[in-house]
Structure formats: structure tokens, C-alpha cells
């Protein structure tokens, strides 16, 4: 970032208006935009690392038997792939990066409520990430438990589980503090006229997410402490021979980790709710219901963790209750999808890169969501539990959903903070490749799962060979698109043509401030007089 030439678009912006440009002015900055970019680069770096690991896993599965690695390496790789993608990329990804960059401006504030706490969050995230990375290369080697750290294996394996778990524990603190910061910011720092009914839906989704971060993450913290105690002190709380119950571990783990998937998907839905109306030139359909459904998803989503455990030996009553509650979550999710579609109806749609990613979000998320119902119904879950169907399902939601939403946000918001933009055509080509490769990869996985191929096995029966080859080829198409997107996007942001004014014609506050924004965002304290999707007074520049 320092190599950037301070040319025209950057003058008098947060890049240089404090006169501080060295590396310490970034890593010790309390400016939400600088912290947001720090989060963005680190989380995105972890995303690329995770992609690389995923590609290696796919190469191993390209043909039956040993292809490029043995079973122990395979176990370690899928564990690290999961831990990196979930704890280091997708959970901090949107709140940390785009939440920090955009939300304070959207509510009309100069910064978040606790800027120094915000910096501490980033540092805790970095320290936690470093500890996780250390755990891969020290002690007994990279953890091989899967990202879920299930007992009894996690309390007995000789790999470096304790250190990895400690790193995740620290990252959890970072997530909690971000949640506290965002809830307080949205309550206390809204500008004059920025009523709750005028908050952009991205901010609404961050608000719901922040509550989940606050209320669910502590349970993960204590669960991770309990794993460490189990390994280091021999507490025996989850050891049946000592009176403990491993199913209690699964309960505690999923009490956090299911709500955590809403930490991942809710802000992604917020991004989509902000992009679709702008590129349809039409106010969002059902503003109140979309805002409400974010809260409803956060609330109902906290009560469905048991659907991960239908085959773990819970009582039938528990299975039915959790299955029912899981179907309840589908309602607010569907409300969002229908409202996005209704927003498109009779809109003046322009198919630019952010919109293409946003539209594919709707499709991919819907496929992922509907396959989730197959897993949420106890009767069908028993058949596809622990198969590739599950892997396909959560990649549709997490990658096709949240991942594509992050790509949309990168094309939509990052130019605003750089004052430069990417080239449109390569972005569209990249999108087309990624969309194609994605479906070839993950839809095939779902078919494989239906045919009975288990997950987390490095080998498989010969009848699964053809489809596995197809999936692996899909992963290469996806990767090719990703490379084009990354090169095009960053080349554009660092050296591209100027991005000035309000090219997308957005009506929320971030499009009213200079590009890139100055350190304190607003030259004058803003007074909000209209809603975030009222385009009657905005033109595309």
C-alpha cells in the first residue's frame, strides 16, 4: 500500500491528510478506514491461502487412492483449510473489513464508538492468527481434527490442537470486541436525521451480526478453554470413562458455531441488499421486512444448533424440535430473497461487476439454502449426513453466498476508498469463469454426496472417480477466474483509472463524501433527509 503514488485522486484523503504514511501509521492507526483496509488485506490473504489448500485437496481427490498426499497430510490440510477459512477469513471478513470501511460513514459518524478498541480488535486478530499459524509448524504438527475439534479425538490426538485452539480463542476476543464496538456505534453515533428506518440495510445486517458476535462467541471461548483443560489438565468432562459426555462438547461447540454461520452470512446479505437497489435504480422492496428478517435470522438462528447433531445420539424429541426450528429460519431467509427479486422487477438494471456478483449470490445462496433444508429435515439428514452433500451445501452458502458477496463488495466499495477502479471487461470474464467453475465444483459434490461419497476421506470407491474428476476440473476453472479477478481488481485499485464522484449512483451517505474519504469522513456534520435507497436526487456521475 505504501508503494502507491500519491497522485490526484488521493489528495486530501485518509491516505495522506494526516501527513502520516509510514507502516506504523497504518498498524497503529485508529482510523476505521485504515483498520478496515488492514483487515481486508489480511483476511483476503488468508482466503487465498485457504483456496490454495482447497485446490490441493481437490487434486488429491482427483483420482482414487493416493494422488499427491497421504491420509495424515490430507486430514491436516482439510483441518487447516477449515480453520483458516472460517476463523481467519469469513468470520472477520465482512465486519472487520467492509464493516469498518463503510458502516461508520453509512451512519454518518467520524469513526466507530471506540476507535482504540477497534485497533485492539485488529491486533488480537493478528496475534490469534499468528498463534494458529505457529501451531501448524510446531509441536506435534498441524491439527488433524477438522475445524470442529470434536472430542474424543481432539483430546487425544498428538497433533498441536491446544495451541491452535488457543489462537482461535484470541481471535474470538477480537470478534467480540468488534461486535461491542458496532452495536455501540450504531446506537450512539448516528448522524442527525439518521433514524433506524433510514439505516442502510448493510448497517442493519451488521447490527444483527454484532449481536450474534456478542452473544454467541463467549460460548466458543469457554468451549475452547474446555478442550485445552481436557488436554492439559485431564478434566475428563467429555470423557465417558470419567463420567463425561462427548455429546455435551458438540452441544457447546454448535451453540456458538451455528450462530457463527449467521455471523458469516448476515452481513453478506446486507451487502446484497445495498447493491441490488443501486444497480436497479429502484428503492429496495420491503425495507422493513429485510431489516426485520436480519434480526429474526439472528434470533432464530441461535436456537437451531442441534441440527448438526441428528446422528450424534440426541433424544428424538430434541431432533424434532431442532428440525422444526431449522425450518423456521428458512422463512426470514426467503423473505430476503423474495424482496431482492421484487426489487429487480421493473428496475432499470445495469449488469456491471458488483451486480453480477450480487445476482449470482441470490442463485447460489438459494441452492445452498434449499439443500440446507434437506439437511435440516431429520429424515433425509440421516442419509446424507457426513457426505459430500454437506460439503457442497455449506460451500454453496459460505462461498457462493458470503464469498461472492465479498467479491461484490470489493468491486462496489473498494474503488471508493482508492479513488481508482478496475477494468470492467476482465471483471465480467472473471465473474463468468468463477460462476461456472463454482457450480461445476460444488454441484458435483452434492451429487457425489447423494450417491454416498463420505466427506473427510482421502480415498474413495472407484465408482465416484468420474464425478470427482469433474469437480476437480471445476476447481481449476474457479481458480482461473479468481486469478483474473484478483489481478484485475488490484491492478485497477493501485494503478487504474480515477474513480470519482458517484459512478454507481448510490444514495447512502458513503456516496456523499469525497472519494477517497478524508480521515474524519465528513467535511461538515451530515444531516440526513432521506432514506438510503431514495434515488430521486442522485445521478450516476
Amino acid at each position: 500500500m505504501d508503494s502507491l503514488e500519491p497522485t490526484q485522486p488521493l489528495n486530501n484523503s485518509f491516505w495522506n491528510d494526516t501527513g502520516k504514511t509510514g507502516i506504523t501509521s497504518w498498524i497503529f492507526s485508529t482510523d476505521h478506514k485504515r483498520i478496515g483496509l488492514l483487515y481486508f488485506y489480511v483476511t483476503f490473504g488468508f482466503f487465498l491461502t485457504g483456496v490454495l489448500l482447497g485446490l490441493l485437496l481437490r487434486i488429491e481427490l482427483m483420482a482414487p487412492g493416493r494422488t499427491i498426499m497421504g491420509p495424515q497430510t490430507y486430514n491436516a490440510l482439510f483441518t487447516v483449510h477449515g480453520v483458516v477459512m472460517i476463523f481467519l477469513f469469513i468470520i472477520p471478513g465482512i465486519p472487520g473489513a467492509f464493516g469498518n470501511l463503510v458502516m461508520p460513514i453509512q451512519v454518518g459518524a467520524r469513526d466507530v464508538a471506540f476507535p482504540r478498541l477497534n485497533l485492539l480488535s485488529w491486533w488480537l486478530y493478528i496475534i490469534g492468527a499468528l498463534i494458529v499459524l505457529t501451531s501448524l509448524f510446531s509441536g506435534g504438527g498441524a491439527p488433524d481434527t477438522g475445524w470442529t475439534f470434536y472430542v474424543p479425538f481432539s483430546s487425544r490426538t498428538g497433533t498441536n490442537v491446544s495451541l491452535a485452539v488457543f489462537g482461535v480463542f484470541i481471535v474470538g476476543f477480537s470478534s467480540i470486541l468488534t461486535g461491542v464496538n458496532f452495536v455501540t456505534t450504531i446506537h450512539r453515533l448516528r448522524a442527525e436525521g439518521m433514524s433506524w428506518g433510514r439505516l442502510p440495510l448493510f448497517t442493519w445486517s451488521l447490527y444483527a451480526t454484532a449481536w450474534v458476535q456478542i452473544l454467541a462467541t463467549p460460548i466458543l471461548a469457554i468451549t475452547l478453554v474446555l478442550i485445552m483443560a481436557e488436554r492439559l489438565l485431564g478434566t475428563g468432562l467429555f470423557d465417558p470413562s470419567r463420567g463425561g459426555d462427548p455429546v455435551m462438547y458438540q452441544h457447546l461447540f454448535w451453540i456458538y458455531s451455528h450462530p457463527a454461520v449467521y455471523i458469516m452470512i448476515l452481513p453478506a446479505m446486507g451487502i446484497i441488499s445495498d447493491i441490488i437497489p443501486v444497480f436497479s435504480r429502484k428503492p429496495i422492496f420491503g425495507y422493513k421486512m429485510i431489516a426485520f428478517s436480519s434480526i429474526a435470522i439472528a434470533a432464530a438462528g441461535s436456537l437451531v444448533w442441534g441440527h448438526h447433531m441428528f446422528t450424534s445420539g440426541m433424544s428424538d424429541t430434541a431432533v424434532m424440535v431442532f428440525s422444526f426450528l431449522t425450518f423456521i429460519v428458512a422463512i426470514p431467509s426467503a423473505i430476503k430473497v423474495f424482496n431482492w427479486i421484487s426489487t429487480l422487477y421493473k428496475g432499470s438494471i445495469s449488469l456491471e461487476a458488483p451486480m453480477l456478483f450480487a445476482l449470482s449470490f441470490i442463485l447460489l445462496f438459494s441452492i445452498g439454502g434449499l439443500s440446507g433444508l434437506i439437511l435440516g429435515a431429520a429424515a433425509t439428514d440421516v442419509h446424507v449426513h457426513d457426505t459430500h452433500f454437506v460439503v457442497g451445501h455449506f460451500h454453496y452458502v459460505m462461498f457462493g453466498g458470503t464469498g461472492f458477496a465479498i467479491f461484490a463488495a470489493m468491486h462496489y466499495w473498494l474503488p471508493k476508498f482508492y479513488g481508482r477502479r478496475y477494468a470492467e471487461k476482465p471483471a465480467v470474464v472473471a465473474w463468468a469463469l468463477m460462476f461456472t467453475g463454482f457450480n461445476v465444483l460444488y454441484f458435483t459434490m452434492q451429487v457425489l454426496g447423494m450417491k454416498g461419497m463420505p466427506r473427510r476421506y482421502y480415498d474413495y470407491l472407484p465408482e465416484f472417480a468420474n464425478l470427482n474428476l469433474v469437480a476437480t476440473i471445476g476447481s481449476w476453472i474457479l481458480a482461473a477466474g479468481l486469478v483474473i479477478m484478483v489481478v484485475n481488481l488490484f491492478r485497477g485499485l493501485w494503478w487504474g483509472v480515477p474513480f470519482e464522484g458517484n459512478p454507481w449512483g448510490g444514495a447512502s451517505l458513503e456516496w456523499t463524501v469525497p472519494t477517497p474519504p478524508p480521515t474524519e469522513n465528513f467535511i461538515e456534520e451530515p444531516v440526513v433527509t432521506h432514506g438510503p435507497y431514495d434515488f430521486s436526487n442522485t445521478e450516476r456521475s
Binding site: F114, I176, L189
Partner: protein, 200 residues
Amino acid sequence: MSHPEHKDDIGAKLGMWLFLFTELLLFGGLFLLYAVYLKRYPHEFATGGTQLNWVLGSANTAILLTSSLCAAMALTALQRHEMRRAMALLGATIFCAAGFMVIKYVEWSAKIGHGIYPGSEHLKAGPPGESIFFSLYFLSTGIHGLHVLIGAILLAWITVKIKSGEVNGDNYILLENGALYWHLVDLIWIFIFPLYYLIL
């Protein structure tokens, strides 16, 4: 374009309350395990409970309640611009915290001296429910003790800030939040004490 330093006491308190919720939920996980295992091993839990020293436990409860009172009075004193009294009361709070830790130390050493600690041979030989009870006891009181320690350090740091005048009768939000944290530490003990020492 330079703005005055942002100051929002209500916001600061809101943030603190949110953080306190997270602390409650952290202990919530342990209370959840307690509830499930109590249902499974009621007799072993009762036997375990009788082995804890309720006199020392009660003494610690009294000490923590006194310390919370001192913390609250320190805040009132500060709001009335009585800096010396505020610092003295905070000193009393920290003194109580130290007393609590000493008693905890005596209790723990006695238990460990009898071969009762997580993973000990003595517990492995006994009924499983008892091992679960003491594992939970050590984890709950251990994590709580850690919070007592953190709270005491926090209050000591605030005392220094009062001495330097940075925290004063017009700017007392830091002490208010510190005292809130201290009350939380107190509150959690109010649940731990009866669950482990009394009701069984």
C-alpha cells in the same frame, strides 16, 4: 477540520454492559455443564459439595460483597470530588480482592493436598460423577479467580489514574465501568458459591 475529542459516557457504559453480557455467557457454558451433570450425578455432586469448606466459602462471599460495596462507595466519593476517599475505598476493594485470593489459595491447596484436582489418581479411582464435580469446581473457581485478579489490576490502574488526576469528579466513566466489572465478578461468585458449597 479538527473536531473536539469525542466523549460519550452513555456509549462507554453501553459498551461495558455488552461486554459484561459476554462474560456472563462465558460462565454460562460452565453453568450449563453443571446443570446437565447435576441431573446425571445428583448423589456424587452432593458428596462432592460436602467436601468443600462452607465456612471459607461464606467468608469469601462476605469479603466480595464488602469489596463491591467499597467499589460503589468509591464511585460516589469520586463524583463528589473526594479524591482521597475514593482512592482509599478502592484500596479497600483491592485489599478485599487479595484476601479473597488468599482464602481461595488455602482452599485449593487443601484440596490438592488431599489428591483432589482435575486428572488426579484419587478422583480417577472414585465414582465418575465426583471427578466431574471437582473438575467443574476447579474450572469455575479458577476462571472466576482469574477474573478477580484482572478486576483488581484494573481497579489498581484506575487508582493510579485518579492520583494523576486523569480520572476525576467530572470524568469518572472509567471508574464507573471498572466498578461495573467488579460487580460482575461479585455476581458470578454469588452463583458459584451456592451451587458448589451450599445447596447439595
